[in-house]
Symmetry: C2
């Protein structure tokens, strides 16, 4: 936790905020917090600054927050990701959020096991919790917008174009394609398929929506390895 | 498992090899293997090709292996990594190996918890097992050389220069430095510090050995996120 992320339900009055039990635990056990101590903090979807510990009462902590700057700017990358295995979903959301991705769609694909859509991990509050962890990690405050698209074709045909907006649309796909672009600073949308890849039909559907195939080398990487590697390659991280 | 990696102790005679119980389990349950079926395989530190299932006897599988090509060429990246938390070590080794890193040093640092050096995960056979998983993932066969450097200064002063050879020596370090290079095709050595970073003294010691500091943006990333992101950025993956 590199940032105390303060959410509206933690607001007391004026500049006073109450830490969540998890944050208080971290402040007491990892940071050895004492009254007067200052800790990097930020308001959800708002500025970052310093939180000064005001009171510690039986492991309940209240802080005084003063904003001093805006959060780190994001790299301008959106992610269209085939729904991963439930046990990987948590890590991918934390990674994607800590890397600064602000738009995420989890979409179905022929090779996505149907059971993945039944997992309780897809509950909105659990997904939000993972993204908050990613924000705390990267000292960011701006929560990504996360969309679930359990049906591939309707989303791709009816929603994908407006969702991707004016971004360059990139499909990481094995085969004889141009090498993956690098160090982009303009808006970019990256589509990553399931293990086993998109079907030819799915690739065609995405190409119809302006996606182009690029090669990222001939190694077969796990999605959780490929995502940070592709983001690191594609974007100039601010 | 995208490749059946055949190790010397599995060799029977001529072109016949016996699969390990883990490989046999995978072939039977995931690939629904039957005699005559062909599966991508490779010889440890050797060529890749096809393994044809010869016999299946009570979940013991023997195959006939025929090489047809060399493994995917590596990107030419060496990694100097501060010893990570034990629970992350496994993943980092699998990721580093699947990304094609062929030289790895796990080194001590002021901010590495001393207990990390006591973990049983550092036993040679367990480290090797993780790297084999990374090779299977990426369809590679060439096992990285892994060195443990439990004392920072002696290794950096006496061994680092010859270990890094003629490579460009890159230090991922927060601060006002030139942006991280990208798409390198020449030999490169990447140094990644512990959570909390190298100390100033450690940075100076590494700079004396020809390492230069580069910035990778202002986001604080977990080591397990930063490693693939840095490799994806730094190297042109073949």
């Amino acid at each position: 936790m590199n940032l105390l992320l303060l959410t509206p339900e933690q607001h007391l009055a004026g500049a006073r905020w109450r830490l969540t039990p998890r944050q208080a635990q971290h402040v007491l056990t990892v940071l050895n917090g004492v009254p007067g101590q200052q800790i990097r903090a930020g308001l959800l979807n708002g500025d970052v600054g310093l939180a000064t510990i005001e009171t510690i009462k039986n492991s309940e902590i209240e802080v005084f927050f003063k904003a001093d700057s805006q959060p780190v700017s994001p790299p301008g990358l959106s992610l269209l990701l085939a729904l991963p295995r439930p046990k990987m979903l948590k890590r991918l959301l934390i990674d994607a959020t800590s890397l600064g991705i602000k738009q995420i769609v989890l979409i179905n694909s022929w090779k996505v096991d149907k059971s993945y859509w039944q997992t309780p991990n897809l509950k909105a509050d659990l997904l939000r919790e993972k993204m908050l962890l990613g924000l705390e990690q990267a000292r960011d405050t701006v929560l990504p917008t996360l969309t679930l698209a359990p049906r591939f074709r309707p989303f791709v045909e009816d929603n994908l174009d407006s969702w991707a907006g004016n971004s360059q649309r990139i499909l990481a796909h094995p085969g004889d394609h141009p090498p993956m672009p690098h160090s982009q600073t303009s808006p970019t949308t990256l589509a990553i398929g399931p293990e086993g890849g998109w079907t030819d039909y799915e690739v065609e559907m995405l190409q119809k929506q302006g996606f182009s195939c690029f090669s990222f080398g001939s190694r077969i990487l796990r999605v959780e390895t490929a995502l940070p590697a592709l983001v690191g390659r594609l974007m100039q991280l601010p």
